[in-house]
């Protein structure tokens, strides 16, 4: 009962004028994501040293004026490697999560609306896919066709489609049981209309939240694959690969192992903060 006061105060600060409420936590999340997106785009222009070049005589060097985040296990500049790594981590994960969630959610809604044997076949097939351990699946695919960025993106999205499908189907089945769907059906509407206009607007909130979680999983899985040496290939490296390469620096407390970990944490946490705090349209306009 008392919490309402503090909430209203926070709301006042942010853009109530536009008819949307966007709280500070959400804005922080958004700015961190934008920051990393800009880095990913402009990385080649701002890196102080070439990525593959050994520039420090010491390995696991400390932070210094020349090397802001120290140097890695070969004496390469860590800052440059993280800035370039953003391209792979942000780019690959974003592409993979978009493909995975788009296909999964579309299939899920379709299965819920169509029902019957189509639903059964699709569900069993994706369940089967789901039962393959994700790392193993990645390993087999990369071993079979070699590691390249398109292969990574596709593999990661295939791994996460079943989850997105299950989630969207579960939500859509509930909506599908509502009377307004029946009304639309006996109006004679097509399945596509039902999916797009009647179901999607009602599940978009949870689907976005799911997208955020799945993005984090993908970043972590990509990092895991890179950790096993199956991800982005040297001399380039995504953040996960950077952690793996420099794991030997852990006993020395080298910045080379901390910095990429913080980068991963900052990105994944901000994505979730943003998605939990998306701008909300203010419906009470009677003022």
């Amino acid at each position: 009962m008392t919490m309402t006061n503090s909430e209203t105060k926070a709301d006042r600060i942010s853009g109530t004028r536009l008819g949307y409420r966007f709280n500070i936590i959400g804005m922080v999340g958004l700015s961190v994501i934008l920051f990393w997106a800009l880095i990913a785009i402009f990385a080649p222009l701002i890196i102080p040293y070439p990525v593959g070049e050994i520039v420090d005589l010491d390995y696991f060097g400390p932070m210094s004026r020349d090397f802001w985040l120290g140097s890695d296990y070969l004496g390469r500049d860590m800052l440059s490697r993280i800035l370039m790594g953003a391209r792979y981590t942000v780019g690959i994960s974003l592409a993979a999560v978009t493909i995975a969630c788009f296909s999964g959610v579309m299939l899920g809604m379709f299965a819920a609306v169509a029902g019957g044997w189509l639903d059964t076949v699709l569900s069993r097939f994706l369940d089967a896919l789901n039962s393959i351990p994700s790392k193993l699946f990645g390993l087999v695919v990369v071993a079979a066709v070699g590691s390249s960025i398109p292969v990574l993106i596709l593999t990661l999205s295939v791994i996460y489609i079943p989850g997105a499908y299950r989630f969207a189907r579960a939500l859509a089945v509930n909506i599908n049981a509502m009377d307004f769907i029946t009304v639309a059906r006996i109006r004679g509407e097509s399945t596509l209309y039902l999916i797009r206009s009647e179901i999607l607007p009602n599940i978009v909130g949870p689907v976005l939240a799911d997208l955020g979680i799945r993005f984090v999983f993908i970043v972590l899985l990509l990092s895991g694959l890179s950790f096993l040496g199956l991800g982005v290939q040297p001399p380039y490296a995504d953040w996960g690969a950077l952690v793996r390469e420099n794991i030997g620096g852990l006993p020395f407390g080298a910045p080379a192992v901390m910095a990429p970990s913080f980068a991963i944490a900052s990105l994944t946490i901000s994505v979730n903060l943003l998605i939990d705090n998306l701008p909300k349209k203010i419906r009470d306009r009677s003022e």
């Binding site: 009962m1 009377d179 307004f180 006996i186 004679g188 206009s197 909300k280 009470d284 003022e287």
Partner: protein
């Protein structure tokens, strides 16, 4: 004499999402004496449940008690700490919710849930509590009081569950019980049993009660005094007699007037067209796998035939489970009938909606009971009404917008409502939008499936008047499905009584006082009247009651 409950100048406010504060309860004061039952009556949104909840010191999320005092047995519930309130709840003040089905945990036995209160508060030992619970079951005239406690909630009927939730409220020996619309979801014949049980238990135990309801006739049977609420303010307080016989406030009179039977004025002489608008012959519909004979496993509608003339209305009445909604679904093609002929406007229709042409679908529209689920919560009123216009009539944006204005005018909604979403409308407004969507198709026949049962009496009466008016203007026909006799009586030219999937009687409203079939007699006599002595004086043939009450 010291009153058990004294509410003084109670104020409750809510904060909306833009930070605006709204007063929901605006300075309400009343008392409840020991052993007295006070009814809070008013339409939805009048604050009756909010006031009832403050008696337990509770305000729903987003709301807070902003002023006044609620003293229950000498304790001010507003100023008590949450911990102290928890001690009072379940022992001094208890609550019987509207939907017992939603209030029980389906995973544990009824007995465990009924005696949970005694365990939490450490009032008595588990064995004593069980014994006491069985006593209560007997007092509430539940069947098999010794063993009913070992069943799970889904194994008893709705009316029994409602009485069991009363047992749960009574086991802690409370001084005050809050009943929050406990019989609204029940059938009339079941409602009688439940009301009788509540009344005798409360009177014998000398327990005070607050009875929240929008049904004046139900309240008249059980309450000593009535508090009439509207918009968070008390409009009138008086004994049941005073309110029923000498209401002073115009709103109370309106409530009472909504109960006056308003027989349908002389229906325009039925167009003596050669063929009826809708003719159904020998329809069978149901659920489950088709059997060897091509019929479904569970037959909800059996051999029903009926006829609707152009411009006339047919009422279908019966209790829950009698197959009336299934019949509507079969006619609309949502649930394809297994056997039967549906002839609409001279053409035989396909059994499933998929087999019907777009025009056939357009001419017969269905309006569902719950406007909450029948309107897409993610769309604005404008979008909801625009879709049938685009879909059936292919209108462009400008024509659509003009037609939406017309439709909103037709159903008496302000035009600026079109930008709102269903969640921002009241129950009556939603039902009007629901109806406007059916009108948007320019239908010849509208199937109304219990469209007034989720509405308050005054609002429902207004919706019925609206339907009659639209019928005069547009020459529509309705099939009106309801469990509420007075509603059907008010609008229909012909009434079909259904029981157990069969049509038991077809009568005209003039003969409604003297039905022939025994089930119709039982059903019609169970409708509460605005007479406080009705329940006590009501005598129903116990044989008849047993024969037709499956619950």
């Amino acid at each position: 004499m010291v009153n058990l409950v004294e509410i003084r100048d109670l104020k409750v406010e809510a904060t909306t999402d833009s930070g605006r504060r709204v007063e929901i309860i605006n300075g309400v004061s009343f008392d409840i004496a020991k052993g007295e039952i006070v009814a809070l009556i008013g339409e939805s949104g009048s604050g009756k449940t909010t006031i009832a909840l403050t008696l337990m010191g509770h305000a729903r999320p987003g709301c807070r008690i902003s002023g006044g005092s609620v003293s229950v047995a000498g304790k001010d519930m507003v100023t008590l700490s949450e911990k102290q309130r928890a001690r009072v709840r379940g022992t001094e003040v208890t609550y019987v919710p509207q939907s017992a089905a939603a209030a029980f945990n389906p995973a544990t036995t009824i007995m465990d849930q009924v005696i949970e209160v005694t365990r939490i508060h450490g009032i008595m030992s588990s064995d004593e509590a069980r014994a006491r619970a069985v006593e209560l079951f007997r007092a509430l005239s539940l069947p098999e009081p010794e063993t009913i406690g070992s069943r799970y909630p889904h194994q008893v009927s709705g009316g029994q569950l409602q009485r069991l939730s009363a047992a749960m409220a009574l086991i802690g020996d409370p001084k005050l019980v809050i009943f929050d619309e406990p019989t609204t979801a029940l059938d009339v014949t079941t409602q009688i049993e439940v009301l009788r049980a509540f009344k005798s238990v409360m009177k014998n135990g000398g327990i005070a009660g607050v009875y929240v309801s929008h049904d004046l006739a139900v309240v008249a049977q059980i309450a000593d005094r009535i508090v009439v609420l509207k918009g968070g303010e008390t409009k009138e307080i008086g004994t049941t007699e005073e309110i029923l016989n000498g209401a002073k406030h115009p709103y109370t009179r309106e409530l009472l007037a909504a109960f006056e039977p308003k027989p349908r004025g002389a229906a325009g002489a039925a167009e003596s067209g050669p063929a009826p608008l809708l003719e159904i012959e020998n329809l069978i519909a149901g659920y489950g796998q088709a059997q060897a004979d091509g019929l479904p496993l569970v037959r909800a509608v059996e051999h029903v035939s009926l006829k609707v003339e152009k411009g006339r209305n047919l009422g279908i009445i019966g209790e829950s489970g009698c197959g009336k909604s299934t019949l509507a679904r079969a006619i609309a093609g949502i649930l394809p009938a297994a056997i039967g002929k549906i002839v609409f406007d001279g053409k035989e229709l396909g059994r499933s909606a998929r087999e019907r042409s777009r025009d056939e679908l357009r001419e017969m529209q269905i309006v569902f009971q719950y406007a909450d689920t029948a309107l897409n919560p993610a769309k604005s009123v404008e979008d909801i009404l625009a879709r049938p216009l685009t879909f059936y009539h292919g209108m462009n944006a400008k024509a659509r917008s003009a037609r939406i204005d017309e439709l909103l005018d037709m159903v008496r909604l302000p035009r600026n409502l079109r930008h709102r979403r269903p969640g921002e409308l009241s129950g009556g407004q939603k039902q009007r939008v629901n109806f406007a969507r059916a009108l948007a198709a320019d239908p010849k026949l509208i199937l109304c499936d219990e469209i007034t049962s989720a509405l308050d009496t005054v609002v429902a009466a207004a919706v019925i008047d609206l339907l009659k008016e639209l019928q005069r203007e547009l020459g529509l026909s309705y099939i009106f499905i309801s469990h509420d006799l007075s509603v059907v009586e008010a609008i229909c030219d012909e009434i079909v009584v259904m029981y157990g999937g069969r049509k038991v009687e077809e009568i005209s409203p003039e003969k409604i006082k003297t039905p022939e079939h025994p089930y119709s007699q039982l059903l019609f006599s169970s409708v509460p009247r605005l007479d406080p002595t009705w329940l006590d004086g009501l005598e129903q043939d116990p044989e008849l009651v047993r024969a037709y009450r499956r619950r």
